[in-house]
């Protein structure tokens, strides 16, 4: 059986805005060292590098949306470091300079990139954590729920 993954594709411009964001609520006060995630490279999209950005949250129209940029990952893997061939699913990690986050506040993780050109035929997609998200508190997934599944994101840090 083939290994199937799902992701949300990025078209040109979408890697430099906050359209796709993963809201996160930490259950404890934590200090963050790094996060791991997976990207799907479909065909051979052009991009320079990727970064992870963390935004504060604001309640707009009943939804929590990114508001202000708080932190940017200290590393920014280049395309050559991520993949040199066409097509692939790659695990990448992003380092942070030990920012601290309060329990029960919402933060948004946003995948960001520079020099990116994405089309429906050649793009980067941020992999969904479907069907088995690492943290499924309050989340019940069925086969129809890919759309609401979170992005695949693991955190490396410590409780304060």
């Amino acid at each position: 059986m083939a290994w199937e993954v799902w992701g949300n594709p990025y078209l040109t411009g979408e890697l430099s805005n906050t359209t796709r964001h993963q809201p996160v609520i930490f259950h404890d006060d934590i200090v963050l060292r790094a996060c791991r995630t997976w990207v799907v490279i479909y065909n051979n999209p052009v991009f320079t590098n990727l970064q992870m950005k963390i935004y504060s949250s604001e309640l707009v129209g009943g939804s929590q949306v990114p508001k202000k940029l708080l932190h940017t990952s200290s590393n920014s893997p280049t395309k050559a470091e991520i993949i040199t061939l066409s097509n692939g699913v790659k695990e990448i990690y992003f380092d942070f300079d030990f920012p601290v986050f309060s329990a029960n506040d919402t933060y948004h993780f946003v995948l960001s990139g520079t020099g990116y050109t994405g089309t429906t035929d050649s793009h980067i997609a941020w992999q969904k954590a479907f069907p088995d998200p690492v943290n499924r508190t309050g989340l019940t997934l069925s086969a129809n729920d890919i759309g609401i599944a979170p992005f695949q994101l693991y955190f490396i840090g410590s409780e304060l």
Partner: protein, 380 residues
């Protein structure tokens, strides 16, 4: 819910806050005084914080009739009037041939620019009506409708002692305070002008161009305060800043004795019962001469409050236990006795800086129903 509130958890306690910053401070009145809980009469005084922005940092002046010179003050933040005035002097002398002096006039506190008239054609004109001088004219308090001519020294038209002052706190973790209080020494008004603009700002980052939260405090001559049951902002914010714009303060500085930003506790079921007793304290001593005349040694006045709590639940009683354990009879704290202004002219009136005057007395009236008697003495 009781309208009596204990300000028991300060986010900006020096043991808790990640970092705190101040715009300026006088050496004899450092900002550490404002965090020293024991003495509200030991105060912080500002020394003049001047912020000069790039592109708004020039003064056009003349030493020779018809020849404009442009002094450029380096853009940046100056943390004392002395350093700002030194930068002005250097800027004048960098393009002019005369020697310049910039000081705060001792009697009026206004800015005074003096030229010795040695360089150029021997004159000194400040061209405030020139567009390039407008921003600095506003900062220094000079009228831009006319140029200053015909003399070698010019006093500003309006008093300006700073561009703003501020206290800034990085809480480390984001927090959403519910109470703010600012006081000076008791028995004297706060040393800020009624026209002062005092704001509490909150933001996710240490950038104050467009803060997420901004609230202007209502002026009061005894205490400035703000309380909000649901928290100041809709979200928790990491950076908080108290901004004071009081450029025309005739004292030449702004002053505060103690500041609080944090949580408050107010029991839900239990509440103090009427009558709310208070007692004035005047420690002045008056002696009578043989002829019957009186001579008084005038000392500061204070006030004592008695509260009789009824109906406290176990949780509420134990919360008050913790508050007493934390403060005891030795550490002062802010309290609001009438947070809804039900029996006072304003909420500010009964926000007081108090100590427990004696240990509270507790009695268990019935299960989950405590009575507590406590007395507070307002601190000087």
């Amino acid at each position: 819910m009781s309208c009596t509130r204990f300000f028991h958890q300060s986010f900006i306690d020096t043991d808790l806050v990640s970092s705190s910053f101040v715009s300026s401070q006088q050496a004899a009145f450092p900002v550490s005084n404002i965090y020293n809980q024991q003495r509200r009469s030991k105060v912080w005084r500002s020394q003049g914080f001047w912020e000069v922005l790039s592109g708004a940092n020039t003064i056009v002046f003349q030493e020779t009739t018809g020849v404009d010179l442009t002094a450029t003050i380096p853009a940046g933040e100056y943390t004392s009037s002395t350093s700002f005035f030194a930068a002005l002097k250097t800027a004048f002398e960098a393009v002019g041939a005369s020697t310049y002096t910039v000081v705060s006039d001792t009697s009026t506190k206004k800015v005074k620019v003096t030229c010795n008239g040695v360089g150029g054609g021997g004159i000194f004109q400040l061209r405030w009506s020139h567009a390039a001088s407008a921003s600095i004219a506003a900062i220094l308090g000079y009228d831009t409708s006319t140029d200053d001519t015909g003399a070698l020294a010019y006093l500003s038209d309006v008093l300006k002692i700073h561009t703003s002052e501020w206290l800034m706190w990085d809480l480390g973790l984001s927090g959403n305070p519910r109470a703010l209080a600012l006081i000076g020494p008791r028995n004297t008004p706060l040393k800020i002008s009624p026209s002062a603009i005092i704001r509490i700002l909150g933001n996710e980052t240490n950038n104050w161009t467009a803060p997420s939260y901004e609230q202007t405090l209502t002026y009061n001559d005894a205490i400035l305060q703000q309380m909000k049951e649901a928290g100041f902002h809709t979200e928790s914010l990491r950076y908080w800043r108290l901004q004071i714009i009081d450029a025309s303060n005739p004292l030449g500085f702004v002053e505060f004795g103690s500041v609080y930003l944090g949580e408050y506790y107010s029991p839900t079921r239990g509440s103090p019962q009427f009558p709310f007793q208070s007692e004035y304290i005047d420690r002045s001593t008056t002696v009578f001469s043989e002829g019957g005349q009186t001579f008084s040694d005038i000392l500061p006045k204070s006030e004592r409050f008695s509260l009789e709590w009824f109906g406290l639940t176990v949780t509420e009683k134990e919360e008050i236990d913790e508050i007493f354990t934390k403060f005891g009879v030795s550490i002062p704290m802010f309290m609001s006795f009438d947070s809804e202004a039900n029996f006072s002219s304003s909420v500010n009136y009964f926000v007081r800086y108090v100590k427990f005057d004696k240990e509270p007395v507790v009695s268990l009236t019935s299960p989950n129903n405590y009575t507590m008697r406590m007395e507070f003495r307002e601190e000087l």
